[in-house]
Symmetry: C2
Subunit: 364 residues, 2 copies
């Protein structure tokens, strides 16, 4: 008997090519996805949740093989923020990812080898285009979109690209575009991968992967996901042991970062890290449409925007830029800045606070 809290990843193969933002036409796209809850007869109770940089389709419930919970399991399920008793929740891995959706480690049918850097540079807009094909496959009439961080950028792009189709948009710990500092962090992270001795122009799938570079990229990421307050709370200036007086790991915060770097290398593809950070850097509807007002003017969605007080990667100020634009456009928008000591990671951790607000927004 299947336990309803178990889940598995399915594959949807697009039946047509996609014209990417870079101008290339890209075919043979497969999308890894999961669903939770049931689609109703009217096909209007769907919520598409959108993952962040290193996420996967496995947003909720238990994976049958690993027995691990999804990345937003605290938020998706019966009576949770995204209530699977009422809603049909879909989650898919992004284009360019490494968790089942076509990405740089996928086999290029023309060469029978992994694409590696022959994979086209994809954008947030392209990711959303692919998601739309998946949603069409289900015959969904109107949709709710929700995501944090890069997931929020995708949700925003949904409301821009499909203004009539999206009925509600939930933007959490996100921005209309990265600021210069975030681009800088991504640039250094990519540099660490690109300069790794194992990188071999992306063709490392039959040898050692650029694990040092990828670990450094992840360590940089983790510094930006926390905030000094969170770091102080978690680690302070505590030594792991006594001062080593060498270049081993001394402080607990170093130990944490080293660990995060190490475990990441086993679960993520370095090329995907390059592609997805590039997609983050490039996303800029303000530039694409001349202004955010122009980008959002046709949207018929209502909006919920949530920011976190200590998030310095996607700041409240950036959230307010979206909110003030929506207000100018007379859109239906709710905005909350939640107090948190968790920095950017709050969107994955502060589920109680988010649940109340999201439930209320979704009319429960």
């Amino acid at each position: 008997m299947e336990n309803e809290n178990y889940t598995e990843t399915k594959i949807y193969k697009l039946n047509k090519p996609i014209v990417l933002k870079c101008g290339k036409t890209f075919d043979n796209i497969e999308v890894a996805y999961q669903t939770y809850g049931k689609l109703n007869e009217n096909k209007d109770n769907a919520i598409l949740v959108l993952h962040a940089l290193t996420g996967s389709a496995h947003a909720a419930f238990l994976n049958k093989k690993t027995n691990k919970k999804g990345w937003w399991d605290d938020m998706i399920g019966p009576n949770k923020a995204f209530d699977t008793n009422k809603f049909f929740v879909i989650s898919s891995n992004v284009l360019g990812g490494c968790y089942g959706t076509t990405g740089p480690k996928s086999i290029n049918p023309l060469t029978n080898k992994p694409y590696a850097l022959d994979f086209p540079v994809v954008t947030i807009e392209d990711m959303v285009k692919v998601q739309k094909e998946l949603v069409n496959y289900f015959g969904i009439k109107k949709i709710i979109v929700a995501g944090g961080s890069m997931g929020g950028m995708q949700a925003l792009e949904w409301s821009i690209a499909y203004p009539e189709y999206v009925k509600s948009t939930i933007l959490i710990a996100t921005a209309a575009r990265l600021n210069a500092q975030s681009i800088a962090f991504n640039a250094v992270a990519r540099n660490a991968i690109l300069k790794d001795a194992n990188f071999n122009n992306g063709n490392y799938y039959n040898s050692s992967c650029p694990e040092n570079g990828l670990a450094i990229a992840r360590m940089i990421g983790h510094i930006t996901y926390l905030c000094e307050e969170a770091m102080y709370k978690k680690f302070g200036r505590e030594f792991k042991d006594t001062p080593s007086f060498d270049f081993g790991v001394d402080f607990q915060v170093e130990s944490y970062l080293e660990h995060q770097g190490k475990i990441f290398v086993d679960r993520f593809d370095a090329n995907s890290y390059l592609y997805i950070t590039k997609a983050l850097d490039y996303y800029d509807p303000i530039k694409s449409y001349g202004s955010l007002e122009n980008a959002l003017k046709d949207s018929s969605s209502k909006f919920l925007v949530i920011s976190f007080s200590t998030d310095w990667l996607f700041t409240t100020e950036q959230a307010k830029q979206i909110v003030s634009t929506l207000i100018k456009l007379n859109k239906d928008v709710s905005f909350v800045e939640l107090e948190s000591k968790c920095g950017h990671d709050a969107f994955l951790l502060e589920f109680e606070k988010q649940t109340k607000i999201i439930k209320s927004f979704l009319g429960e």
Copy 2:
């Protein structure tokens, strides 16, 4: 005829070994230093200026060979903040550095090879001990100490280690100890060097240096020296050219960081970067003395503390920790937070604002 605004680096060889904080006794220490202005007869008009992570003894005036100005030339000279018509200004390269003072790239007299990682792990306290020997050599009676960033930590340590000897202490953009986030950034930077394929356990002096790792370390550094406001002002989200749709340099901020990384590799030793960042991480008079009050209680110095509003590496909050301790101890302390858009770099850039305050503090 010698132009008085030219300078050159001299070497002072210590006539005794130093007992380091790690417990080792270290001999054959040479110190690279420069001086500006003249020591008076009473030998009480000396100011020791202390450099930051990657600085050198060349703080002011023009280098005869390179024709380059010193790192604080805007602050040191006739009628400047540190007025060489009145004061005798000394600047020396720190122990562990790579600009003339004994460090990991120096020749170990026991092996006739560079020390590399056989160089002992040195601390801010050790750097200051070495500086004291240099100052003793000049027969200086009382001293003024001044520095920004790591230079400020050295100045603070001077007032702690030689409480009767220091008459004035100028602490700029500094803290009594790094916070967890700064330790994290240093840890990632060191990781990039240690994992570079060229690192070879520090023995790279006869081959290629770990230039990729060192460049990454420098790029991380530069992100922390600027602030989002400064980055936005300098670069915004401007493209260097048009979007490349590959993994080349796209944004101006990327181009800036790449450039900073590249030029740094030619001027700095990767091993020194390891040692000096470790010294930064380790410095913690609060832990060493039980409290900052206890550390500073015997000081007879007066203090000037300057912080910058957008400095997120050494924050105003951290400066205030020093200030409030000094107030509790009834010490003579002045504190100014200067408005600046330059982030941590402000101590190297905002010389007009600093000059007024420092001149006033020095009684001019």
